[in-house]
Symmetry: C2
Subunit: 241 residues, 2 copies
């Protein structure tokens, strides 16, 4: 193996070791820098500096920034459990998928907003995750044209819940004062009700159950939710100020 | 007015004008820089440079970075419509609130992940938004200890949907190929079904309807969703790999 494929491993304690420069190492380094520094500290040059190589050396293994982002999505979405689809009832499979999905993204908070708005890269492993999910929805009886709309609705909830999981537990603390009486009462009552449970876990399970109850009713034949009475711009008959 | 309170207005075309340096101008500048450059380009020094003043001049009007973030949250959350609480049925009020909430954050995408994880600052106008929402939930009959758990579940969905609204319409395009047959079929069917409607709007309305259906069942007396059968760590009886 040429020396160009060996880099100083800078992570961990002890004496420097030599690691093999490959796609996996580049992606794991990119994910670590993203977690530590945010998107603006995890570019090609940052990764190369961290690995002690020239930026050009990275291009033997990755095609560029978009390819790195596709690889980051693979690293995160590899942790999403789709095994329930095809083996468990639809709602149980969705729970397993949703919980693992939230956990995978909450473990790497900067990936949430980054990956939520970047297109999938065709050919990436992430497409296989979606294929397994779509297969499960279709097998459960979801109409073909509804599957991805429902999946995206669930994903929006999951990713928002991953953000909330990262937030501090006292994020909504109204502080002291004599105003905001309803907010203060609700905040204190939630704390009493939660006991040792995390507020973000309770909110996630509540929303997941509510979504599955509503979606389950559509699947059971109550007709589409969210589709019928809406104008093309997504508005409804309810007037908006 | 002293010259320290006048700054060169750098926005817009035409000859430079003098604007009054006040909290409002500082916050609007911070929001614009955040939108243009992200969090790392919207610090105190960046705002001061943009306004052509020394950083110390800003401290006559804002207490520091946390105060600026609280102010950004006020600017965004001022656009959230709580007028339905107290005048419309609970579910219609939630729809009005949720749609305006999503729109307010989607108009400033970097605020979504930033504000989702920062604690409220006591005394900010945002507390009044939460107070109005809590009052509406309590008046609708929600048990005091359930209100904020349900509100946060809805917020997670709304903020995730705001991220999805910012994403390109073809974000999930599986590309060409012979594999991923379920994913490709679902993607093509969704496009046919959507016609001119935006995929993100359809997903948002679908999820909102499903959440309200599930939560409405709890409110109508079906008992709490997401609360009962869970272990303290938020897990459930469904085994996770």
């Amino acid at each position: 193996m040429s020396s160009a494929n060996r880099v100083a491993a800078t992570r961990g304690s002890g004496r420097p070791r030599q690691a093999v420069l490959d796609r996996e190492l580049i992606l794991r380094t990119a994910l670590r820098l993203l977690d530590e520094r945010g998107e603006q500290g995890a570019g090609i040059r940052d990764i190369a500096r961290e690995l002690g190589v020239r930026p050009s050396a990275l291009y033997n293994h990755v095609a560029g920034q978009d390819d790195i982002i596709a690889g980051l999505r693979e690293l995160v979405s590899d942790r999403i459990d789709v095994d329930g689809f095809g083996s468990l009832p639809w709602d149980a499979a969705v729970r397993l998928w949703a919980r693992s999905y939230r956990r995978a993204f909450a473990a790497h908070p900067p990936t949430i907003a980054l990956l939520a708005v970047r297109p999938l890269v065709p050919g990436s492993r992430t497409g296989r995750m979606y294929d397994a999910v779509c297969a499960g929805f279709l097998a459960a009886g979801w109409p073909e044209e509804r599957v991805l709309t429902v999946v995206v609705a669930l994903e929006s909830f999951i990713l928002g819940s991953a953000l909330d999981q990262v937030a501090p537990d006292d994020m909504l603390d109204p502080g002291d004062g004599d105003d905001l009486q309803h907010f203060r009462a609700a905040y204190a009552a939630r704390a009493r009700g939660l006991a040792e449970r995390r507020a973000s876990d309770a909110a996630f399970e509540t929303g997941l159950d509510a979504l599955l109850a509503g979606l389950g009713a559509e699947l059971a034949g109550a007709g589409p939710v969210g589709g019928a009475a809406l104008s093309p711009d997504g508005g409804s008959a309810v007037g908006e100020a």
